[in-house]
Amino acid sequence: MRYHTRDSSFFAVVAALVVLSSVLASAPKSSAIPAFSRKYQTSCTTCHNNYPELNDFGEAFKKNGFKFPKDDETFVKEPPVLLGSKAQKEAFPGAVYPGEIPGFLPIAFRYEGNFTLNRKQPAGFITQTGFTPRTDLFAPNTFTIISAGSFGQNLSFWIDDDISVDAANASGAMGDGWLKYSDLGHGIGLPKNALNVRFGQFELDLPFTQAKTIYLSPYDIYSQTNLGPTGTTTNNPVIFGSAQRGIEFGGTPNNGNFDWSVAVINGSNAGDAARSSKDVYVRLSQRFNLERDPESRNAIQAAGPTGPRDHTSIRLGFYYYHGKNEQNQDGTTFPGILTTVEEPFYRVGGDLRFKYRHLELFGLAMYGHDDNHLFTAGPPATIAAAPAVKFSGGFAGANYWFYPWLIGTFHYDAVNSHADFINGAPASEHQTRNRFSPGFQILARANIKIVGEYQYTFGQPYSDPVTGNTLFFRPNTFQAGIDYVF
């Protein structure tokens, strides 16, 4: 039986943060798809104003199963290979239902390498957390293979895998790998794409994607796990921003303005199931198109005297995640040889995105709640309900396109973690882990990007080696990198 002390709990939290940072640093990141550029002989900028973030047209393309929203066949420059003639539909079930595969191998690659400049660490901080070099060249150093496309009218697929991260031959991991059937409700008269289904491993239908983020740093709230105080059982490893395995039903009716999705997932991040129960994720969002001109409002992209752009719009969303962990009495996660206890948990929140010409504003709020239990070793050992472990936080940010190739970025991340506070000394100077991250992105070409981001982080406590007093140090970081896809 393991007992936490105040100090060890604190270091456990810090260690968890460090581990999380490293996990997120190596989390697979999907990207733009040059395979589609080849298929349609079009530039990346058709779907991305700043890859891998999708513009309005890219969103419509994705929601339509990686096809142009209208008259797709007329735009395809690389015709598909038919797996049976279309007329074979009439022979079904006496024949295999006809399908198709891309006429070329839909493979694309992405490389990302960053230069990192860290703030000089004080001696006490090094003693406590370990030494971090001032500079690090090309870390992470990631090579990703991506394949995506469609298998005919209704089927689409996506696979991305970091085949090398950091060191030579070091394995990364699969990000997403799924198959989607679009427009399942067509036969029962539902509007186009009102009901789709997706199977496999996928990032949840998050309000703001982590896998396809344009930023060098992750959204902190997405990586928040939940850890109960000393002697309690909560030790929830679910990472909101991680890929999950499961089945997702969803739809984008009303010209893509309304989005809904319900996913049933393992709740084990990208790993195998570790418990019998399944988690459920629900997301609803509505976009309010603020274009005055009705023609622009209904078009895939907004028209304007200076050329097309994303619609002036506001999207409001809601999400809810529910799961049930099964914890061992000693706080270790998932069933073992000890008595276990069920601990339901949920994450709930809302989001907002506002687009106006060259400006994009966004924000997300999240509240997390985990049931918790207090274990007493005994004998006899007892277990009783304990105060829930909670956290809250979110992020807000803005992007501005000074030119189509020069984008200023900013995001602010905040996490108020109950677990941080109750596990010994606070993990932040002001009881909030927060970070300001201004940055820039330069599209040297449509497929080559130079990025930079300064991360002004929260003050982390450490003991002065001479006086023993608690001091705070901000391990601020500047990162710059190159990112290209082909």
């Binding site: 349609y40 002989q41 079009t42 530039s43 900028t45 058709t46 047209f57 142009f68 929203p69 209208k70 008259d71 007329t74 735009f75 023609e295 078009a299 895939i300 992209q301 907004a302 028209a303 304007g304 005297p305 200076t306 050329g307 097309p308 189509p404 449509a446």
Partner: protein, 202 residues
């Protein structure tokens, strides 16, 4: 009818015939060869400014289509003052703009974006070349070559061209191509058909 009157009529008919022969439409036929360029297609060939000669702007517009995410035709030549109508035949929005006319950025223009089936006109009053671009689909490319005279043509895939209805005279023939340097060549249109061989180099 007196002999004098008959003679006068004969002279008048003769003069009329002579005048007709003077303004009789001739043509320039030619072939453009290329060096260091992939194709001799889509090269504009036109008669340069004719001193003391002015031409009315054409009444009929020229249409440039946007079809399957391409400007069709890729190169269009048009006399100064011509109205070019830009049609969108695609079911995606297209934008048409040109950042300059022959490098003069003051003549840049953005026509905006419009949906399928609609046209937007623009009258090209400045001689030069407008590089047509679409800021939705950067791979789209087209050219409007605005010429000072109504005597122009665009080469076919073999580099052949014909400039019809040109009065007899001595002219300066010029070329414009997407990848090659401009070429200038004198041409004497005295017979019904003047044959020209031009070479455009990269």
């Amino acid at each position: 009818m007196s002999l004098v009157k008959i003679a006068a009529k004969g002279v008048a008919v003769g003069l009329t015939l002579a005048l007709v022969s003077v303004v009789k439409a001739n043509e320039i036929k030619g072939k453009v060869s290329v060096q260091g360029i992939k194709s001799a297609e889509n090269i504009a060939v036109y008669v340069d400014v004719i001193p003391d000669k002015k031409f009315d702007a054409p009444k009929d517009p020229v249409v440039v289509d946007q079809r399957k995410m391409a400007f069709v035709p890729h190169v269009v030549a048009a006399q100064q003052g011509t109205t070019v109508e830009f049609l969108n035949s695609d079911s995606v929005g297209h934008n048409v703009y040109w950042p300059s006319i022959s490098g003069n950025k003051k003549l840049a223009h953005n026509l905006g974006t419009w949906p399928k089936g609609e046209k937007k006109p623009f009258q090209f009053n400045d001689v030069g070349v407008a590089s047509l671009l679409c800021n939705v689909h950067p791979e789209m490319s087209g050219y409007v070559v605005v010429t000072p005279t109504p005597y122009f043509a665009v080469t076919d895939k073999d580099g052949n061209f014909e400039i019809k209805n040109i009065p007899a005279g001595k002219y300066t023939l010029k070329t414009w191509s997407e990848d090659g340097k401009p070429t200038t060549q004198a041409v004497d249109v005295s017979g019904a058909t003047a044959s020209v061989e031009l070479t455009v180099k990269k």
